[in-house]
């Protein structure tokens, strides 16, 4: 088509070096994750990537990632939510009191808890969106309020344990839908005691989906003459992601299969990535964070969007609270303490901008994993909590400095 002819000439693929400079952030994050994993894999003598540890890694970080999805939206919209740790703890407490003390049905409890999360988000978002009170202050207040409310609800005690059906949320695994025979037949090939065929298939399908959508998108972009990623990069990036997916799923398949939480996380990540990148709603949130006044003068209901970002955050914090409580099998007054900082750190490591309008869901998830691998690897090595904190702090700082440096380089 005429359109393509016109633009192709003007968009000659730039040199590899120049391209890398422009996209340092995305590749940097991926390479950092790989480098850190490789480092810990070596220094822990292979423990990091053992099936049981990968499973642990996913379970340990699930609630951070769930909240990071909502936090990314809040931060892109130009706000921040400091209350998520407390809200998470409070919802866990609410669930424990309802199920353990009052013996409510667990499904009903989950529903009430998610609703409560939404209401909490709405209560905070209302002040931020319609009264223009800085989100930092509103959610700082919320952090104290909900910390206090959890204490009050639990009367300072730990409440637990939960019934089995509830624990499954966090600790359960998806049963293998394939006949046992297939797994048993495959086991010797991979030199494993067992193979969960479902997990293996999921890995292959996910890898295929990622690569094929990548190829399709590239082909379409080429039609519009807007391909700027050098072919070598495209192939390398897709190969790494595809192989990593298959590798992780394979490892999981030789342990207990797919954790329920992984499915929840995966689905939520895809849904939020889709919303932020492909829908009107998502586009408007970026515009709102990028320039609130311009967005408003373009007919965007900025107040309502801000409000919804907080409602969404509340619901996700509630979901994370349920997962956390189920995983520990008890609700404690200290649950979620200072967790908001890990969530926020993950989002910034993932490349979001403090001033809003910039950031990606995938970045936030990778950022959360990066922090998770650091935590996990250092714990395996037996590094004390004192050093762990310092190192995490420096990693956050380094990531943001890297961002700023890159930006100044691009001018």
């Amino acid at each position: 088509m005429a359109l393509a002819e016109n633009t192709v000439e003007e968009n000659q693929p730039k040199g590899v070096g120049e391209y890398l400079l422009g996209h340092m952030r995305e590749y940097g994050l991926l390479f950092a994750l790989i480098a850190i994993m490789a480092f810990f894999q070596i220094v822990t003598g292979g423990t990091l990537l053992r099936p049981v540890n990968i499973t642990n890694l996913l379970l340990q970080n699930s609630y951070i990632i769930i909240m990071a999805l909502g936090m990314l939206v809040v931060i892109v919209s130009g706000n921040i939510d400091l209350s998520v740790g407390s809200v998470m703890g409070f919802i866990g407490a609410l669930a424990a009191v309802m199920i353990v003390n009052y013996e409510f049905n667990f499904l009903f409890t989950i529903l009430v808890c998610l609703l409560a999360g939404g209401v909490i988000g709405a209560a905070q978002g209302y002040w931020v969106a319609y009264w223009k009170i800085p989100s930092f202050i509103v959610t700082l207040a919320g952090m104290l309020v909900f910390r206090g409310l959890s204490l009050w609800l639990l009367e300072g005690q730990s409440v637990g344990p939960f019934p089995q059906q509830f624990q499954v949320i966090a600790n359960g695994f998806v049963p293998d839908i394939f006949p046992e025979g297939i797994g048993a037949a495959l086991a010797p090939i991979f030199d494993a005691r067992q193979v969960n065929v479902l997990a293996l298939c999921t890995g292959l399908i996910a890898a295929f989906a990622v690569v094929s959508t990548g190829i399709r998108k590239r082909a379409r972009n080429r039609a519009y003459g807007i391909v700027d990623e050098p072919r070598s990069f495209f192939i390398a990036r897709n190969a790494i992601v595809g192989i990593a997916l298959i590798f992780i799923m394979f490892k999981l398949s030789t342990f207990r299969g797919l954790p329920n939480v992984l499915i929840t996380m995966g689905v939520l990540t895809i849904v939020y990535a889709f919303i932020t990148e492909r829908t009107i709603l998502g586009r408007r949130i970026y515009a709102l964070g990028g320039n609130q006044k311009a967005a408003k003068l373009s007919g965007i209901k900025t107040e309502r969007l801000t409000f919804l970002a907080f409602v969404n955050m509340g619901i996700l914090a509630a979901a994370a609270g349920l997962v956390f409580a189920a995983r520990l099998n008890t609700a404690t007054p200290k649950a979620g303490f200072a967790l908001e900082l890990d969530v926020i750190a993950a989002v910034f490591i993932g490349g979001a901008s403090m001033s809003g309008g910039v950031g990606k869901i995938v970045g936030a998830v990778v950022g959360a994993f990066l922090m998770g691998v650091l935590n996990n690897g250092m714990s395996i090595m037996g590094i004390g909590i004192d050093y762990q904190q310092m190192i995490k702090g420096l990693v956050l700082l380094a990531a943001v400095i890297f961002d700023v440096y890159n930006k100044s380089k691009q001018g």
């Binding site: 492909r278 829908t279 009107i280 311009a294 967005a295 003068l297 007919g299 965007i300 309008g357």
Partner: protein, 506 residues
């Protein structure tokens, strides 16, 4: 007269671009030297070389200042030698007082303790010099742009300025403020201050400049000396764009159709000072295919009128009726105003018109995302097509629509804002200072776009501080003063004198 400054064969390259190519600039002691050229011609780069933003060694060529070779390492270095730049975007701290701003970084202090009485006394002297009657303790926040500009100049004077560089000083000023500023420049000249003025307003250049240097595409095109020749605007424009611009305003067949927009008895009060009525019972209408101007001084309420109509984006206690095609419409929210067929192109494109960090594509579709989506899901292909279409139609100069708008020049940014609103499909466009701060070539293009719109039967309401522009473009002009529409002139009746007299007498 001897030369105070001589820049010889200055060449400055950025990766891939030669921004300046053997530029020569000679500024004589005690003159006002105008530097003109289209946006992107290299004027700002040249001034950055001069002031040390690009330190010696990062460019080729020599700077001779005050009779000696100068190699400035940074701004502080050039400032110490009396070279002071006042940028288009003012660099004052809004919540500090005039006195605090004047001596910021240069405080009148002993061992870190500020001598306030001394500071205030010197501030008063400096303010008298620039003709600003304000108390030294007044917060800069409370001053209009014109007065802030004077504070900037006072600040320069406080530093023993020898070469004052003003980058588009009157771009944001009203007619009368501009005149006052130009008078001040002439007065400083009389006191021996040499200045360089960068401006797009050629009538101003002609009024104050002793010498005019025209830069085009990074090279010096010509240097015109007022002493030896008469400098005409046409001559400058010809050198700037490299072609004759016989018609500054493209012609258009004038035909007004049915009445599209009618505003009746429109009243608006100030958002913070509830007792102040900003718009007083305004009545006006715009017909299909008509270009209607609103003339008036800065602060007369033109922007406030437009923004209050467009989704009540300004003011409170708003009353009045807005009709489209004779029927009252709801314009109480921006999205409703858009649905009613209105669009408002803001005067402040950077902070109100664009999301600078985003791409051209995303800015173009922002006000009409429904037009590039199905069921709330965006169609990338359609978005690319739409934005490419506007890129070509509007002649937005950029390698691709995936460029961030912050990398574009002012004229191209304005075209992006216009594209955004055209894609929203309005019937009436309100253009607020559509050509502010953009170069002659881009202005001409914008005028062409406005004429196209009118030919398509759209109504255009154009707010402008440049009277020649209104006279050249509009079928009818409303004159606004202190929140009221005080007169209405047809194209034949309108002249600068009549507009001014309406403003003055009412």
């Amino acid at each position: 007269m001897t030369a105070l400054l001589e820049m010889r064969s200055i060449t400055k390259t950025f990766p891939g671009v030669k921004a300046l190519d053997e530029v020569n600039l000679t500024v004589r002691q005690g003159e006002i030297h105008a530097l003109v050229g289209e946006n992107g011609a290299g004027k700002s780069t040249l001034m950055k070389v001069l002031s040390g933003v690009y330190p010696a060694g990062t460019y080729d060529g020599e700077i001779h200042y005050d009779g000696a070779l100068a190699e400035f390492r940074d701004i502080a270095d050039s400032e110490a030698r009396g070279i002071i730049i006042i940028h288009q975007e003012l660099a004052l701290v809004p919540l500090l007082s005039i006195a605090e701003n004047l001596f910021l970084g240069n405080e009148n202090a002993t061992r870190g303790v500020i001598d306030w009485p001394g500071t205030f006394q010197r501030t008063t002297e400096l303010l008298r010099k620039v003709g600003l009657r304000e108390a030294p303790t007044t917060l800069v926040d409370k001053l209009g742009v014109g007065k802030q500009q004077l504070v900037e100049i006072a600040k320069a004077l406080s530093k023993e300025v020898r070469l004052l560089i003003l980058d588009e000083p009157t771009a944001a000023l009203s007619e009368s403020d501009s005149q006052a500023l130009l008078d001040l420049m002439l007065e400083l000249k009389a006191q021996g201050v040499t200045s360089i003025i960068i401006s797009h307003k050629l009538n101003e250049v002609r009024r104050v400049a002793d010498t005019v240097t025209v830069i085009r595409d990074g090279t010096t095109v010509s240097t015109l000396d007022a002493k030896t020749q008469t400098i005409t605007e046409d001559a400058i424009v010809r050198d700037m764009v490299g072609r004759d611009m016989a018609h500054r305003y493209p012609s258009r067949e004038r035909r007004a159709g049915e009445v599209l927009l009618e505003v009746e008895d429109w009243n608006v009060w100030h958002p913070e000072h509830a007792e102040r009525q900003v718009i007083k019972s305004a009545d006006f209408h715009v017909r299909a295919g008509e270009v209607v101007g609103i003339a008036g001084l800065m602060g007369s309420g033109r922007t406030e009128l437009a923004m209050s109509i467009f989704g009540r984006s300004y003011g409170r206690n708003i009353s009045g009726t807005v009709k489209m095609h004779g029927k009252p419409v709801d314009v109480s929210k921006v999205h409703r105003a858009i649905d009613a067929g209105l669009a408002y192109v803001t005067e402040d494109r950077k902070s109100l018109g664009l999301v600078l960090e985003e791409t051209i594509l995303r800015n173009v579709t922002l006000a009409n995302l429904d037009g590039v989506s199905r069921g709330g899901i965006l169609d990338d292909n359609r978005e690319t097509e739409v934005s490419e279409e506007y890129r070509r139609a509007m002649n937005i100069r950029t390698p691709s629509v995936f460029q961030k708008v912050m990398n574009l020049s002012g004229g191209n940014q304005q075209k992006v804002v216009l594209s955004k609103w055209l894609f929203a499909g309005p019937e009436v466009l309100i253009l607020d200072e559509p050509t502010r701060g953009i170069d002659v070539g881009a202005k001409f293009e914008i005028y062409g776009i406005i004429n196209d719109l009118s030919a398509q039967g759209k109504g255009v309401l154009m707010i402008s501080s440049e009277m020649p522009e209104l006279l050249g473009m509009c079928d009818r002009v409303y004159v606004m003063n202190e929140g009221a529409l005080v007169g209405e002139l047809t194209a034949n009746e309108a002249s600068q004198e009549r507009i001014m007299s309406l403003i003055v007498t009412e």
